[in-house]
């Protein structure tokens, strides 16, 4: 098991066709590294929600993943409209999704709440008309925040 790794993935906004490719790649990578299934699953969900967000709202973005024996840290940076009211965006059910996004089955206002639920620490910072930054952390030791 090699538990030290760092990698960045670029994601184009509006590329709905490939939505999820990067997250599936990251999940496989962590699986190959021997990350515990329970953590793997939570990281995969949070990454996927972030990827869908970039594709849905931003011009482009980068998902950066850093794995160490202690934790997995995901940094998501995008260039786009940003979020005016982060508190509102954290609320279950709040969404500014377009019809295109809803057509795919997303845009229920569950993205941020779900990332928060899956992770051990979740921070959002955003500048309107510039972009949004997410920092999502997962501790490597078992926690029981999901699988209820």
């Amino acid at each position: 098991m090699r538990l030290n790794h760092e990698e960045s993935f670029t994601i184009q906004g509006g590329n709905f066709l490939d939505a999820g490719e990067v997250s599936i790649h990251i999940k496989r990578m962590l699986q190959d590294m021997g990350v515990a299934p329970e953590i793997l699953r939570r990281v995969a969900i949070a990454t996927y929600e972030s990827e869908i967000n970039i594709i849905s709202y931003a011009t482009w973005g980068v998902i950066h993943i850093q794995v160490s024996p202690e934790e997995v840290v995901i940094d998501v940076d995008d260039e786009g409209p940003g979020i005016e009211d982060i508190e509102l965006a954290m609320q279950v059910g709040y969404s500014t999704a377009t019809d295109k996004i809803r057509e795919m089955g997303f845009g229920a206002g569950m993205g941020f709440p779900n990332i928060k639920h899956c992770s051990d620490s979740f921070e959002v910072t955003s500048k309107v008309n510039k972009g949004t930054h997410l920092k999502i952390k997962f501790k490597m030791q078992q926690t029981d925040t999901t699988e209820s």
Partner: protein, 119 residues
């Protein structure tokens, strides 16, 4: 299979498995929030995202309800990611009921106060 009068569109030879839970939804956001690993995903959505979502969540198999015919890209991706896809002409309610009455349980019974079914 017989229970749902379903046909396998992808993964015919991977269907010999025991499934204990299922999640029915046409909203992938909810699937991502509530579905458990190893569950069946019952849905009327047919786009490739159902396959990627299933892959992320380790879903055992996708069951398309109401006789939906998936997009060819969806089937191609399901083959690639090794996720069985079945199709039944039963509606979502009927499909869920048939499975439920044969011992398959929901991933959660109801959502909790925090909206996440942490009962």
């Amino acid at each position: 299979m017989e229970l749902l009068d379903a046909k396998a569109l992808v993964g015919q030879n991977q269907l010999d498995m025991a499934v204990e839970t299922a999640f029915s939804a046409d909203l992938l956001s909810d699937v991502l929030a509530f579905a458990k690993a190893g569950s069946l995903l019952l849905t009327g959505l047919t786009n490739p995202q159902i396959v990627r979502t299933a892959s992320i969540l380790d879903i055992a198999a996708i069951v398309l309800v109401r006789g939906k015919i998936p997009q060819s890209e969806t089937l191609r991706l399901a083959k690639q990611l090794n996720i069985p896809v079945l199709s039944t002409r039963y509606i979502l309610f009927e499909t869920s009921g048939r499975l439920f009455s044969h011992g398959v349980k929901g991933c959660i019974k109801k959502v909790g106060n925090d909206d996440y079914g942490t009962t």
